[in-house]
Symmetry: C2
Subunit: 429 residues, 2 copies
């Protein structure tokens, strides 16, 4: 990586992200690591030139390194670092950098601890080999697993090797690589600001903010990132002076808020619906419970994937059987017989009873047919009823989410969380 001259903002740092693994090349797994890395680099002003997936073959890896040498400033490699012999990135590193493997004592102690504490057995030869690293490399300590990250430099290009396991890769990117790049390399400044809007479509939002958009300074770019029911607007400012960029972004966000403040719900790029809802509940000191039939616990799973959820989530009854609905949720068998288990009436009763049973302020209930089959006279595939009990009332809506099963479940989960978010926001405004 060229150390950039101060204020030389046109000199963009370029990176190529390489994924190693035959399993990707035969389509058995989808590479999600490259996207994560690209996003992290983009945030600190480093441009991803290409993403590349190659095989576990040593010559293929060597050829790739040679090709990328001095073509880009930074090469980030994931995969090929596990303990079995189809994992060969480390040996190829040694070849490419004309280096030898040496035992890293800190890594060895860490591997030993993981194996002995987690697997309850002594380490074997393959585990020991994980502590071998090229002698010239800078070890990136992997707190999350046994394979260390490695940072090597040759001429103008830095090569970083990371394990392919997503949470290990994420840990090393967030805790080691990004801070190191930020500290050691001067990059053009990039200031991103995301504005989350809710409830109006892309073209409608675009129409409302047209004049504002036309008046943006030349160094601020606007992107529309639409999703069902919501639009994220992303401002990206690039330049040599961070303060100037930040001030301009701040001012333009303020003038935007004056125009579409009614539909802005947040400003955090990574904010997912479960995080947004969690923050709303936490801020207001309110609690949530769910009763899930067709969504099978997925709403609970998403809510509880957020750290701190125990502060506002009371729990869920996944009522996949009539036993669960009748004996746990206290739905009367007559109501089910009269209206069918997939009905507005049953959804409403599920929400009301769950709210009371788990002593929550809000309760979501779902009942539907996610497919793939339906019985004669019963709800067809894709039909879902969602009920939301709030402190004041109960709302019930019917949807048809089509198919396949996966899509029905996902849409039902998102729609339910959206209904909750809107209900809380209505109370707030």
């Amino acid at each position: 990586m060229r150390p950039l001259k101060k204020n030389n903002i046109n000199n963009r740092m370029k990176a190529t992200i390489v994924t190693i693994g035959d399993e990707i090349l035969i389509g058995q797994i989808v590479d999600t690591n490259s996207g994560y890395i690209a996003k992290a680099l983009d945030k600190i002003g480093i441009q991803t030139h290409e993403m590349l997936s190659i095989s576990d073959d040593k010559q293929h890896i060597l050829d790739t390194f040679t090709k990328l040498q001095n073509q880009v400033d930074l090469v980030i490699i994931t995969g090929g670092l596990g303990p079995t012999k189809d994992d060969i990135t480390k040996k190829t590193f040694c070849d490419y950098f004309e280096d030898v493997l040496v035992e890293d004592q800190a890594v060895l102690a860490h591997v030993t601890e993981i194996i002995e504490n987690f697997y309850k057995r002594p380490i074997n030869q393959l585990n020991k080999e994980q502590a071998l690293v090229p002698s010239k490399c800078e070890v990136l300590f992997n707190k999350m697993g046994t394979a260390p990250g490695m940072w090597m430099k040759k001429e103008n290009t830095v090569f970083v090797s990371l394990p392919g396991v997503p949470y290990e890769m994420k840990y090393l990117v967030d805790q080691e690589i990004v801070p190191k790049l930020v500290k050691e390399y001067q990059r053009p400044h990039i200031v991103h600001q995301t504005i989350l809007t809710y409830g109006q479509g892309e073209s409608m939002v675009a129409e409302r903010i047209e004049a504002w958009e036309n008046n943006l300074p030349h160094f601020i770019k606007l992107a529309y990132l639409p999703a069902p029911g919501r639009v994220r607007l992303r401002l990206t400012a690039r330049g040599g002076n961070k303060e100037v960029l930040e001030k301009a972004v701040r001012e333009n966000v303020a003038s935007l808020a004056a125009i579409i403040g009614d539909i802005i719900v947040g400003f955090d790029e990574d904010e997912t619906i479960e995080v947004v809802v969690g923050k709303l509940l936490a801020t207001q000191g309110k609690t949530l419970a769910t009763a899930e039939s067709c969504t099978g616990g997925k709403i609970a799973q998403m809510i509880t994937s957020v750290a701190g959820a125990s502060g506002y989530f009371k729990g869920s009854i996944v009522s996949y059987s009539n036993t669960a609905k009748v004996d746990v949720l206290g739905i009367s068998p007559e109501l089910i017989a009269q209206h069918d288990v997939v009905s507005a009436e049953v959804a409403q009763a599920m929400a009301v009873n769950t709210k009371r049973l788990l002593q929550a302020d809000y309760a979501i209930a779902t009942t539907g047919n996610a497919g793939p089959t339906s019985e004669p006279g019963k709800a067809e595939v894709g039909v879902v009823f969602i009920a939301l009990a709030t402190p004041e009332t109960v709302l019930v809506s019917e949807f048809n989410f089509g198919q396949p099963r996966e899509k029905v479940i996902d849409r039902a989960v998102n729609k339910a969380l959206e209904m909750l978010q809107q209900a809380i926001l209505r109370k707030t405004v």
Copy 2:
């Protein structure tokens, strides 16, 4: 693509898959098209050499074409074919093949029909331009959308361009490209076999099967695909005689089963633990319920992601609060006060009570601290108790799954399903 001589099995057809789009390079969307295409090619014996994601830049696309020319037999390109101005694959095709765009009457009629029938308006200039194709190309008719696929050849390399919209791409791959390749090109045979193992780590499995692995015939390749708590082994045999390949794979799987039969749980590539457990329960006419604290409903969500789960899954109590544990599950507050909510005793009571409450044959219970923080004197981050109530007994185990939160939850879910699977298998044997 070279027309292959009969039985010339060493002459591998090689493909590179190229994705065009800035949105991929900034990590905004994940490329799932390449995996789909690679899988389809792999099934008909065509090896994917590399996958590559590049920007919407004309020169970048031209440079890529030039580099791939005669390096591989087949280049499949997705993206860059829509009606807006940042989509430039078609114009670049014309440049690269020194060709001109001409109006394709069949495509124009199709585009007109889609716009008029679906959007209820006359076609505009941008729509008309979608019917323009390079004069030398073979049009791949896109029944699913307005952008046609294009098949061009230059020297030894075929270039195929496809729209980036997944269901349009899939349609053209399945209905046009694969049949055309099968009909026009001779390819080597490929036989895959996946072996699913549970309960031992990658290095442990590798150690046990080392001698077997070293004795594999040269035309069979072994790959390890580890995930928390499980390892998939994949055998890939390539050659000219399908029967020989199949026989060799069959024999080697049999000799592998003789060594690690105790941890082999299935042979279906797409078979996940939730599918395996579901089949076991369905076959034996047994039912399952779960009580989930730290796993937050994820076990239920995985079980119910399988079609037909309502036949054996009774439901789940996601007891994220003491209210849920005491009022719904009927755990005594004294038990919680005495042993802490994260304890073997509470896990056991959760499993036993849930089994009775939901009238299930098996009940899984989880309670633990997924993090990120722990209170003084309470369970540290990563500690999880899993209880399994079977028709005969209750098993409780303590684990430390480390961190981060995501990993603790995933490992707990997998371990719980593994305990269930083993318990059912023990009954079967």
